[in-house]
Structure formats: structure tokens, C-alpha cells
């Protein structure tokens, strides 16, 4: 369990950094699509769903996708209705959420391994 936790923590942190870098560097669309879309589809939700410590990895992944989509919809809609439409800021915010979630995973995993 500890290994799995650490694994997801690393994935979330790495994906967050990659999403941030890709957004700042603005490379060609195929690269951005390959990095940003999977990140937005999984990581924000995983930061939330990992707190539940579900038994099955595929259930966890499924709920992470669902929560990610829901968060993406709700937060982007909230920004738009509030007159603060800024896709890049939202992406960075979601990267921050994933970063926090990933870091928490690693911190939680360390005592379990010990």
C-alpha cells in the first residue's frame, strides 16, 4: 500500500510540473495535448480520491477521472461566470492542487514504509 501511495504521489508531482512547464513554454499542440489532457483527466481528481484509500486501483482511477472532469467543469465555469476567465491560471491552480495532493501522498507514505 505504501508503495502504491508513493507511486501516485510521484506521478501527481511530476505531472503537475510537466503541465506547468508545458503551459509556460507553449510547445507544439501535440506535445501540449499529450501532457496536459491526461493530467487534467486524472491528477486533480486523484489528489482528492486518494484520501479515500479505496481498495481497488481501477476503482480509484475511475473515480479520479470522474472527479477530475467534475472539478474541471465546475472551476472553469465558476471562473467564467465570475468574469475571471483565464484557462492558464486555472491549469496552474489545478497543477497546484495536484502538487499538494502528491506531496501529501509522499508524506503519508514515508511513515507507512518506516
Amino acid at each position: 500500500m505504501a508503495r502504491r501511495s508513493q507511486h501516485w504521489g510521484v506521478v501527481m508531482i511530476a505531472a503537475s510540473f510537466c503541465a506547468g512547464i508545458v503551459t509556460a513554454a507553449s510547445p507544439l499542440p501535440p506535445v501540449r495535448v499529450a501532457v496536459v489532457l491526461p493530467f487534467l483527466l486524472v491528477c486533480p481528481g486523484m489528489a482528492v480520491v486518494r484520501r479515500l484509500r479505496l481498495a481497488e486501483w481501477w476503482t480509484e482511477l475511475l473515480l479520479a477521472v470522474g472527479v477530475s472532469i467534475a472539478l474541471d467543469i465546475l472551476l472553469s465555469s465558476a471562473m467564467l461566470y465570475a468574469g475571471l476567465w483565464s484557462p492558464r491560471m486555472l491549469l496552474l491552480g489545478l497543477a497546484g492542487l495536484s502538487l499538494v495532493g502528491g506531496t501529501y501522498e509522499l508524506l503519508q507514505a514515508a511513515p507507512e514504509q518506516a
Binding site: M1, V49, L52, A55, G66, L71, S77, R88
Partner: protein, 643 residues
């Protein structure tokens, strides 16, 4: 009789909930990366013969996909008839899904059941069934997808929504999400990625489907067959780039979570131990892709987890409410039915959902409701009108189109007949499928509310499909069994083949209308280059790749929409000219294209020859001039317009 699930004993906070729940079943390290085969007997280990047996179906599927991809290269869409895509598909392409089905059924009868291989077959099926048009179409098809791309373009360009434009801007969640994704992905527009949307969304549905079906049975052959039936029966084509496709995922996931963790069903007779010779049976549920057994019939986690899961349900519903007009109602009806029949322990959830739904409609859609409230409320209970819009109006058109409609009806009836048979067979064996039966029927009362543009019956079928597919699959596997008899194998393959044959006609029966040519797209692009902002853009039918830009900059109308107040050939032309010449527009244009002709032919929405006479009349009229002509499209503009 159903009873409350047993409460979990108190435990120290540091102990994960799952360990307590599974303590009655000794977890054992699984030799399979995708779970323990339940009811299949001890696995035969790594012999060459076993590996060859396992590889056979995969090679067959691989060959089918390659033949499919190769065969699609020779498809000429311009020869498509009113029978749809099937009329121009080579035999190899038509045979590919059938071969994949044979490979799937072959894998299904193997012992032990190899679920990773079933995943491969399902993935192949998704590609050959739902990726077909993405390969054969030169430009993305389906006019609605182009329109949706235009809404996304509007939001991305303006950073706001305009609720006065149309209903889409009152339920804009999906479009705002798409605008967000388009921007951060660096795409110019979303139309280029809409072709693969059906395959993507159907892949997305796989997870919730597995979660739902593993809730209802421990028999994984039944689970995968139900998944197969779902995919070969999903001919509704509501999985394109649209809010319905995304919110359907939320619908499935909400119901899956509620049934899995808050459900109250159980089988009166659990899986017999004689089918599990080498290990004791888990309580129920089993795992589908997991590594340890989890009971699906009792809450597997403690109150903290259940609170978290309920929060996720509310979050998912909150995302569905601003994203689609219909799906939140379907969720509400389904959840209410489950709670009312004691099949879901989340008794307060329907009230919360209703409050969220009413709040959105009241406060966020008032611009739309202000103009449409009388229309919407006037349809409530109008059974005759709704039935006419949903059924009678669809049973008309050319002979080819009528045959397609009959195939749709026949395959639907076959699936429902199998579901009833399965329900009876399972009931005789003491299984409780009340939740799935309720969910299969729950969407249909929505028909009493309004006709939803004549599409509500189709949407109700879509919402009920997972549950009907599962019940249909139970007609072949009413109970877990260690072996699949040849008789059952043949029956499954035959049913799959019939449903597949129906699918190709039912789903792609409108392909002659739905596909567009590059010439049509170029004509519309010419229109956007030359028509001044605020111009009237008129088409005979809405089947045109337009509205993908300038969504709010032009006034879009169709001749069919004008036709309602007139009749006769001359009157049709006169109505068109009057509409174009009201001088309210800085410019007025009418475009007639190949896809519109196909629409008129298939649905017989104009009398034979009307469209040709209209075009001839426009060519002769001194009021308009021909400004663009290509092999697939013609554009006229008003001569005395200010353009």
C-alpha cells in the same frame, strides 16, 4: 427480503477500513495482475498449449482490426445510399466486428477466464465500431458537432456566455470545459478532435459499466458479456462531441457509486460453493480488475469513506447540472426510484439533487425560460403530441431510411426480449435484479414531460441501455458456471452477430446525411469570409458544416423552418426571397449542399423535385445572384443586399 447491511465494527483510526471488512476472507496473493478468476477452477499453468489457446483469439482480433483498417481505405462515401454506411463498406470491414465477436466469445469460454484478453477484445471492438467514421470521413461529420465547436469557439474567444443566444448557453458546462481544454492544449479549434469522440467516450464508459455490473454479479463472464452487449447495442449515436456524451459518463458513475457503496440489493442465493473448488467464496461482489476481494453488498469502508464517496456523488451531480438539460433529470429520477424502493440508503440525496437542479434552472436559465416557458410547460402530459414527435414522425422517409428505422426497432426489441428472458431465468434462480430492472425502466417516465425535439425516446433508451444490456446477458449466463457449454457459446455468438449486424445499419444508417465533403466545408468557409457580420445565412436543412465560427455573428435559419407557414413550390421560393429581402440584414445568403439534398431525399421533408425547383427558381430570379458554386455546394446572395 432485503435487509440493512451489517455495520462495520469499531476499529482504531489507524487501521484502514478495508482490512477490517476483508478480514473474514483471507487475502491471498493473486497470480493474476487483473484479479482472481472466480468460479473457473485452478488455472492451468503456463503450458505451451494453454498459451497457444490464449493467443488464438488475440491473433484473430488483431487480424480483424488490420483487415478493417485496410478495407476502410477503399470506401467511397459518395456512393452511400439511404441504407447508410453499410451500403459502401467492403465485406472485410463488415466482417471485422463479427470476427472480433468470435474471438471474444472464444476467450469467454476459456478456463480460466483471462480478463486482460477480454479488455483487448473490447478495445478492438470500440475501434472497429466507433472509429469507423473517423477513418473514412475526410472531414468531421455530423452538423451538430460543428455547431458545438462554434459554441466552444465563442466562449474561448469572448470569455463569457450569452444566455440569450440559445439553450446551449444556459447549460454551458461542457462547452466551457471544452474551451478551457482547447486553450490549454493549444488547439485552434476542437473540430479536429471530434472525429474520435465516440471511441473516446465509449472507452470512458467502460469503467462505470464494470463498476455497475460487478455490483450485480460475481460472474465475470456475465459482466463482460453485458459490456459487449452494451457496445453492440449503443447505436443511438449520442456519444459524439456533445454534452450528452460527457454527462452520460457522470450518470453512469453516479449510479455505479450509489449501487456499489450505498446499495441494498442482495442475491437471495449466493454463488454456490461447488463452483469454487479451490478457495472459499468471498461474501459477494468479487473483483473485476482488483487485487483483493471486496464485498459489494455491504459497505466496504467506514463512515469517513462513505461521506467522501457521497461528496463525490454530489460533486459529479453538481457538474452535470450546468452541463446538460436532460441528464440531471434522468439521474434524479433514477436515484429517486432507487431510494423509494429501498434500494439505496442515501435517502436525502434526491432532495438535495432536486434543490440543486431547481436552483440552477431558477437562477441561471431565466433568459432561456423567459422565452420558452410556455412551450416547455405546454408539453407536460401531452402524450399524443410527444408520441407523435418521438415515434410517428420517425417512421417516415425513403424506403432505405424506413428499412434502417425498422432495423433499429427490431434490434431494440430483440435486446429487450433477451432482457426479459434473462430476468425470468435469474428470478427463478433466486437472484434479485430489482435495482437494475428499476433503472432500466426509470428513464421512460421522462417521456411524459416533453418531447425534447422528438429525441426523448432515444435518450430514454440510451439511459436504460446498461441495465437492459446486463439483463439481456443474464439470459445466457443466469448463474456462475465453471464451464460454458457449446450450446451457450453458439447462442451468445449468434445473438452478438445479430446485434452487430443491426448496429452497423442502425448507427450509421444516416451516414449519407451525416458526412460532409471538403467541398461543402470550403463553401461554408467562403460564406464566412464574404458575408458581413449580422447577415442572414439560410440553408435548406440544418445538415451543413456551419456555425463552427461566427456563432453569434450571423442569423442562421433553414428553409424547412420557413416552410411551415407556406406550401407549394412557388410559395417556397417566395418565402425564401421574402425572408432574404426583408432588408434587416446587411447581407443575405442561401446555401444548398449535397448533405442537404441527402437529408431531403431520406426524410422526404420536401415533395419530390421541390429542392431542384427551388434551386432553379433561385438561378432565374433577378433578386439573387449565384456567388459560389462547387461540385457539392451552391451559394446565392441577395442582389440588392448591402453586402
Amino acid at each position: 427480503m432485503p435487509t440493512e447491511p451489517e455495520r462495520e465494527p469499531e476499529r482504531p483510526a489507524s487501521v484502514p477500513a478495508l482490512r477490517v471488512v476483508t478480514s473474514t476472507v483471507q487475502p491471498r496473493a493473486s497470480p493474476y495482475p487483473f484479479g482472481i478468476p472466480l468460479g473457473d477452477g485452478p488455472p492451468s499453468r503456463g503450458t505451451r498449449a494453454a498459451r497457444a489457446t490464449a493467443a488464438g483469439p488475440v491473433l484473430l482480433t488483431l487480424a480483424a482490426v488490420l483487415a478493417w483498417a485496410n478495407g476502410l481505405r477503399s470506401v467511397d462515401l459518395s456512393r452511400t445510399s439511404d441504407l447508410g454506411l453499410a451500403s459502401v463498406l467492403p465485406v472485410l470491414v463488415l466482417a471485422a466486428p463479427a470476427v472480433v465477436t468470435v474471438a471474444f466469445v472464444w476467450t469467454l469460454r476459456q478456463r480460466p477466464l483471462r480478463q486482460p484478453l477480454l479488455v483487448v477484445h473490447v478495445a478492438a471492438l470500440l475501434v472497429v465500431l466507433y472509429g469507423m467514421t473517423a477513418v473514412v470521413e475526410t472531414v468531421p461529420g455530423l452538423n451538430v458537432a460543428w455547431r458545438h465547436a462554434g459554441i466552444v469557439d465563442y466562449i474561448a474567444s469572448n470569455g463569457r456566455v450569452d444566455p440569450t443566444l440559445d439553450a446551449y448557453f444556459n447549460w454551458p458546462g461542457f462547452f466551457i470545459l471544452s474551451a478551457f481544454l482547447t486553450d490549454v492544449a493549444g488547439l485552434k479549434n476542437v473540430i479536429s478532435i471530434t472525429e474520435w469522440a465516440p471511441a473516446f467516450f465509449n472507452l470512458l464508459y467502460l469503467g462505470p459499466l464494470l463498476l455497475l455490473f460487478t455490483r450485480a454479479t460475481t460472474d465475470r463472464r456475465l459482466v463482460w458479456l453485458a459490456v459487449w452487449f452494451f457496445y453492440v447495442s449503443n447505436w443511438i449515436k449520442q456519444d459524439y462531441f456533445a454534452p450528452q456524451a460527457l454527462t452520460y459518463f457522470l450518470y453512469l458513475l453516479i449510479l455505479a457509486i450509489l449501487l456499489r457503496w450505498f446499495g441494498r440489493d442482495w442475491s437471495r442465493r449466493p454463488a454456490p460453493a461447488r463452483f469454487l473448488p479451490w478457495r472459499p467464496p468471498p461474501p459477494a461482489g468479487g473483483t473485476i480488475l482488483g487485487s483483493r476481494p471486496v464485498t459489494a453488498f455491504n459497505p466496504t469502508e467506514g463512515p469517513r469513506h462513505r461521506s467522501g464517496l457521497m461528496a463525490i456523488v454530489v460533486l459529479l451531480f453538481a457538474a452535470a447540472v450546468p452541463s446538460h438539460q436532460l441528464t440531471p433529470f434522468a439521474i434524479l429520477v433514477a436515484v429517486t426510484a432507487l431510494v423509494a424502493l429501498g434500494r439505496c440508503s442515501a435517502r436525502g440525496l434526491p432532495v438535495l439533487m432536486a434543490v440543486m437542479l431547481v436552483a440552477w434552472i431558477t437562477f441561471m436559465t431565466s433568459p432561456f425560460l423567459a422565452g420558452h416557458l410556455s412551450v416547455l410547460s405546454g408539453q407536460v402530459g401531452q402524450v399524443k403530441t410527444i408520441a407523435a414527435a418521438n415515434v410517428a414522425d420517425r417512421l417516415q422517409g425513403s424506403a432505405g431510411h424506413l428499412l434502417v428505422v425498422q432495423i433499429r426497432v427490431a434490434t431494440t426489441m430483440m435486446l429487450w426480449a433477451l432482457a426479459v428472458l434473462g430476468l425470468i431465468r435469474r428470478r427463478r434462480r433466486g437472484h434479485d435484479d430489482v435495482s437494475f430492472t428499476v433503472l432500466a425502466l426509470a428513464p421512460f417516465p421522462l417521456l411524459l414531460l416533453q418531447n425534447y425535439g422528438g429525441e426523448l425516446l432515444l435518450r430514454a433508451y440510451f439511459f436504460s441501455l446498461p441495465f437492459v444490456a446486463f439483463l439481456a446477458a443474464t439470459s445466457f449466463f443466469p448463474e456462475p458456471s465453471s464451464r460454458v457449454r457449446w450450446r451457450t457459446t453458439v447462442a451468445v455468438a449468434a445473438a452478438g452477430a445479430v446485434l452487430l449486424a443491426g448496429f452497423v445499419f442502425a448507427r450509421y444508417g444516416n451516414e449519407r446525411i451525416d458526412y460532409f465533403t471538403p467541398a461543402e466545408v470550403q463553401a461554408v468557409q467562403y460564406l464566412y469570409r464574404t458575408a458581413p457580420s449580422g447577415s442572414l445565412l439560410l440553408a435548406v436543412t440544418p445538415d451543413l458544416p456551419w456555425k463552427f465560427q461566427g456563432y453569434a455573428s450571423y442569423k442562421y435559419r433553414t428553409v424547412l423552418g420557413l416552410k411551415s407557414s407556406g406550401s407549394g413550390n412557388e410559395n417556397l421560393l417566395r418565402r425564401v426571397l421574402r425572408e432574404m429581402g426583408t432588408n434587416r440584414w446587411p447581407g443575405a445568403y442561401i446555401i444548398i449542399s449535397r448533405s442537404q439534398r441527402a437529408y431531403v431525399d431520406a426524410f422526404e421533408s420536401l415533395r419530390p423535385g421541390d429542392l431542384e425547383r427551388l434551386e432553379l427558381g433561385l438561378r432565374r430570379s433577378p433578386a439573387v445572384q449565384l456567388v459560389y458554386q462547387s461540385q457539392d455546394a451552391t451559394i446565392f446572395s441577395l442582389r440588392n443586399g448591402r453586402s
